[in-house]
Amino acid sequence: MSERADTSPVTKIVVVEDLTKDLRPGFGLRRKRVLDRISFSVERGEIFGFVGPNGAGKTTTLKVLMGLIRATSGRAQILGHDVRETAYRRHVGFLPENPYFHDFLTGREFLAFYAKLSGLRRSNRAARIEALLDLVGLREAADARLRTYSKGMLQRIGLAQSLVHDPEVVFLDEPMSGLDPLGRKEIRDLILRLRTEGKTVFMNSHILSDVEMLCDRVAIIAEGRIRYEGGVDAFLPHGESGTDVVATGLAPEAAAKLHDRLGERMRVQGERVELRVPHKQVGELLAELLAMGAEVTSVMPHRASLESIFLSTVQERRRWAR
C-alpha cells in the first residue's frame, strides 16, 4: 500500500471548475439548477470556509466532493483525483451535517469500524483509536452506545471518525450547528488544532462568526453561484452590523420624531419600538430615549449573519420596516 506517495506534490487540495448540478425533483417536473458553474480551490494547510445561506448549495457541493452526488457537468478534484474515484479517500475525512451514526455501536466499536473500512492495519488501529478518544475527550464514554450520546458528543465522535485514518484533508458540514456554546467551543478548538497538525480543513457554514474566527479563506455561495472567493478580512466589512435597541413607553410625537431621523431602521409595534444604530451611536441613542421618558428593555449587538449580508448585498431588496 502506497500510503501517500501519490498525493504529496499537490498543493491545491481541492479544485472545483465549472461544476454544475441539475436536479429533477420528480418525473415531468422542470429541472432545477442547484449548482451553476461554480469554481473555487482550496490550498494545502488552510482552513477554508464555504459559506452561504441555507439552501444555497453548500451541502450539494460537499456531496459532489464526497462522491455522494454526481455532478451534471464540470470538474471536481481532491488531491489531484477525480471525486468519483474511491482509493484516494484514504486521505480524506468527512463529517456530515447533523451526523447520525450507527447508534447500536459503542464509541470504541464505531471508531474501530471506520478504521477497518479505511484500511488501517490492525497493529496501529487500537493505539490510533485511543489517541482519538483522548483528542475528542470521549475516553469516559468510549464503551457506551452512541444511542446514549448527547448531540455534542456525537459531533465529537463524528469528528474523531473523520480523523481515524489520519487524512490530509477534512471536510466538515456545519460542524457547529445545533451545539450549545460549550460544544461549539470544543469543536472550534479541535479544528484549530487540526491546522497546527498541518491538515487542510474544508468547512461549510452559514454562521459568520464561526467563519470569521476560524477560516483563512472563504468562498461565498448563494443561489448556486459563487459570489466571492478570497480572504476573510476582505469580506467581513461588507456586512452591515450595529446594535439593536428595544424600548417602550415612548410618546407618539417623540416616536414620530425619531422615525423621521432613523427611517427604515426603526420599527414600531404598538407600545414597543425596535431601533438599529451603528455601534458608535448607541450611547447617544440611549441618552435620547431616556430623556424622552422611554424605558429601554434590551440592548443587543447585532451579529451580521450571512443571510443578512446576502439580503443586503446580493438581493438589494432588504426592508427593515415595512
Binding site: T60, K63, M66, L68, R90, P96, F101, Y114, K116, F171
Partner: protein
C-alpha cells in the same frame, strides 16, 4: 484483498446491527412459538400427527424466514441512506459495489443464523415428538435458506432505488409470482394463443422459480430427494442472486444521495 476486508467489515457490522435489534428477537420468538404450535395442531388430528407437526414446523420456518428476509432486506440500503450513515461510510475508500455486497452478505449471514436457530427448535420439537428426522429435512431447510437469501437479494435490488414501502410491496410480489411461475407456465401451455405460451415461458425464465427451492413435502414424507434436486437449485439460487445483486449495484452506483 483490501476490498474483501472492507466487505467483511461491513457485513460484520450489519450482522451486529441486526443482532442488537430487539424487534428481531420478538420475530424469532414468535416463529419458534409458531413452530411449537404444530404440537397443538397435530393433536387435533388423531392420525399422522408427526407429519402435521413437521408440516407446521417447516411451513413456519419458511414463512417467517421469508418475512424476516423481506423485512430486513428492504431496509438494508434504505436505512443507511435515510439515516445518512452511508455518507461517512462512502467517504472512506469504499466503492458502492463493496457497500452493497457487504450489506447483502451481512444480512444473509443474519438470515442463515436465524434459520439455524429455527432449525434447532424444529429438530428439538421433532425429536421430542418422535417424528423422523433425516437428510431430507436438512435439504429442505438448506433450500429454504437459499430461497430466503435470494429474497434478500431481490429486496436489496428494490431497496437500491425505491422506498421501503414500495420495495416490500415489490419484493412480496416477486415472492408470490415466483411461487406461481411454474403453474403459470403449465397452465399457459394449454393455451391456443402462441403469444400467451411464449409469455408464460419468459415469465418463468426471468422471474425466480421459487418452487424449485421447496422440497418440504418430500422431506416430511421421507420421499427420496435426488441429488440434482438439491445441487441444481443451489447453483440456480446463487446464480440468480448474483445477477440480481449486480443489477442492484448498477442502480445503486447511479444514485444521488440528496
Amino acid at each position: 484483498m483490501g476490498a474483501l476486508i472492507r466487505i467483511y467489515t461491513l457485513a460484520g457490522n450489519t450482522l451486529r446491527e441486526v443482532i442488537r435489534n430487539r424487534i428481531l428477537y420478538v420475530l424469532l420468538c414468535f416463529a419458534i412459538v409458531l413452530i411449537a404450535t404444530g404440537v397443538v395442531l397435530s393433536a387435533l388430528s388423531y392420525v399422522e400427527q408427526e407429519r402435521i407437526l413437521q408440516d407446521v414446523g417447516l411451513g413456519s420456518i419458511r414463512l417467517f424466514g421469508t418475512v424476516i428476509a423481506i423485512f430486513l432486506g428492504v431496509g438494508v440500503l434504505h436505512k443507511e441512506v435515510d439515516r445518512r450513515t452511508i455518507y461517512t461510510i462512502l467517504s472512506k475508500p469504499i466503492s458502492r459495489s463493496e457497500f452493497v455486497l457487504g450489506k447483502y452478505l451481512g444480512l444473509t449471514a443474519t438470515i442463515w443464523l436465524q434459520l439455524l436457530i429455527m432449525s434447532a427448535a424444529f429438530a428439538l420439537i421433532s425429536w421430542l415428538a418422535h417424528a423422523p428426522l433425516g437428510t431430507g429435512h436438512a435439504a429442505a431447510l438448506l433450500l429454504s435458506g437459499l430461497e430466503m437469501s435470494l429474497m434478500v437479494a431481490v429486496a436489496t435490488l428494490f431497496s437500491a432505488f425505491t422506498t421501503p414501502m414500495l420495495a416490500s410491496f415489490f419484493t412480496a410480489g416477486i415472492w408470490v409470482v415466483g411461487h406461481l411461475t411454474r403453474d403459470l407456465r403449465q397452465l399457459a401451455s394449454h393455451s391456443d394463443v402462441s403469444a400467451v405460451r411464449e409469455l408464460a415461458v419468459w415469465i418463468h425464465r426471468l422471474l425466480p422459480d421459487l418452487e424449485s427451492f421447496n422440497v418440504s413435502i418430500q422431506a416430511v414424507h421421507g420421499l427420496p430427494i435426488e441429488g440434482s434436486e438439491v445441487t441444481l437449485p443451489i447453483a440456480y439460487g446463487i446464480g440468480y442472486a448474483s445477477l440480481v445483486l449486480i443489477l442492484a449495484i448498477v442502480l445503486f452506483e447511479r444514485r444521488d444521495f440528496r
